[in-house]
Amino acid sequence: MVMYNTYKQNAYYDSVTLMLFSSKLASVEGIKDAAVMMGTDHNKSLMMKSGILTEELARSITPNDLVIGIRGEGDDHIQQALKVLEEQFENKRQSVAGDERIRAKTLESAVKQLGNPNFAVISLPGKFAGDEAMKAMKNGMHVLLFSDNVSIEEENRLKDYAVEHQLLMMGPDCGTAIVNGAALGFANVVPQGNIGVVAAAGTGLQEVSVLIGRMGGGISQALGTGGRDVKEEVGGKMMLLALNALNNDPQTQVIGIVSKPPSPSVMQRILNLIQNFQKPVVACFLGGDEKLVAGAGVVAAETLREAASYLVDLSQGRQPQKLPDEDVDGIVAGERAKYAASQRYVRGLYSGGSLCYESMLLLEKEIGGIYSNIAHGEYELKDVESSKGNTLIDMGDDYFTDGMPHPMIDPRLRAERIKREAQDESVAVMLLDCVLGYGAHENPAGAIADAIHAARGSGKNYITYIVSVCGTDADRQNRGSQEKILRDAGAIVMPSNQQAALLAAKILKQKAE
């Protein structure tokens, strides 16, 4: 076995481009492992652990350098891989040079070329993202700041400027927005309508907008704030600004709020604002008590699906109605009959943080404490690489995305984890999300199906795979075809994240009884 290492100084490529380069290298005959990554500490450590980077070389590499590590059967294979990599660099250079669409070297030059842009989407590494976001706002643009690892001081600096100049500054760590029908970041193709939503929860906003469309409603605007916005330190600056804008928007007749429970002082500010609204408001504070909004004239929803349903009812002039429970007893009995005595637990592997959080809350209520990397206290999973008992993992968490593409874009880490969890003889149910839409992987169901097949081939026990698809038939991946791929792989496909989690809970609860 031969290992080859090199690096290019000050060569920047985004993580998705590098993911493609790495996959091309890994598929060359005789190559056992390969990675092309920016030289962040996290990436260097991953490459050293995989045995494709020496400690000595790692010391001289900075985060601005591009690191290449290859392990192969012989020198010929390494040379072939390097040739493939050179072709990739050249293809990239040519595709940029031959692109007739507008490309610019700097934000200032993009502004000149476009004339009068009104919106910027920024997904640069966190330490550079704030300065570019400020520049965009100073040029009169509203901003969706996708990047994470932006400090809270920077967030406040940006949002103070935004509030003063009445600009949207969605994020940091904001994945989704739909503005005047345009889907930005990770967003789905949903019908336009009269429901406006503000969310401090990215995939929560995707799930609600998708379900609204499926239930016959439509979206006027869907605005994200970034999860930290509703915390004391930021004070709900963007939540309040966005709610005001929706209240003043003639297209918006009904307003939805989706978030984890805000800090008490932020909650008070939100309630003070919306109690003067003439438009009906539905609030889904995941994990919050309905009493939080009591007396404020707000309709409280416990889950994302319930929020979507109440919003559609109100948008069509109906009183909000509770959704009936679904009869899944047949599925539950059928699955339980297939388990060995040792199988007792659920393992959830999510690409969407809010979907993971909603499932955790629903399962906790039904079957008790759930270990997770997003839980606090007793059930916080200290070692995210090792599940125990009932465990749900948010694989979009910083631990997994530092220098790596988000799992909604790159499904490989989750596929590996599915195979690993399936080896555990105590696992009965695996819960997964499959998020479609702009920005997301072109065939996430295919990646899940391949992982299920591989897991079934190597695991000892029968495992129930429950998946919910967050997407629409108008998304480029097409919800119908994605669901078919999952069913063909033997998964049970539920129509929403809530229903998927509740089915898992019923299976495990009845098994325990």
Partner: protein, 57 residues
């Protein structure tokens, strides 16, 4: 009408900095858009960046 409500009433003209797939999405939706082939300022030198930031503020 304030800036945000004006935006709700306008066709979006977008600049994308970062992941190219978000630029692809803008183009797929026929939005007028530009992608910035971004490189770290000052070659990513944090101290030099700080000096530039002070000069520009």
């Amino acid at each position: 009408m304030n800036e945000i409500n004006q935006l709700f009433d306008s066709k979006l003209i977008c600049v994308n900095l970062g992941l190219e797939r978000f630029f692809e999405a803008m183009c797929d939706q026929n939005l007028r858009a530009a992608h910035v082939d971004w490189k770290p300022p000052a070659g990513g030198d944090v101290r030099l960046m700080e000096i530039l930031r002070k000069l520009n503020s």
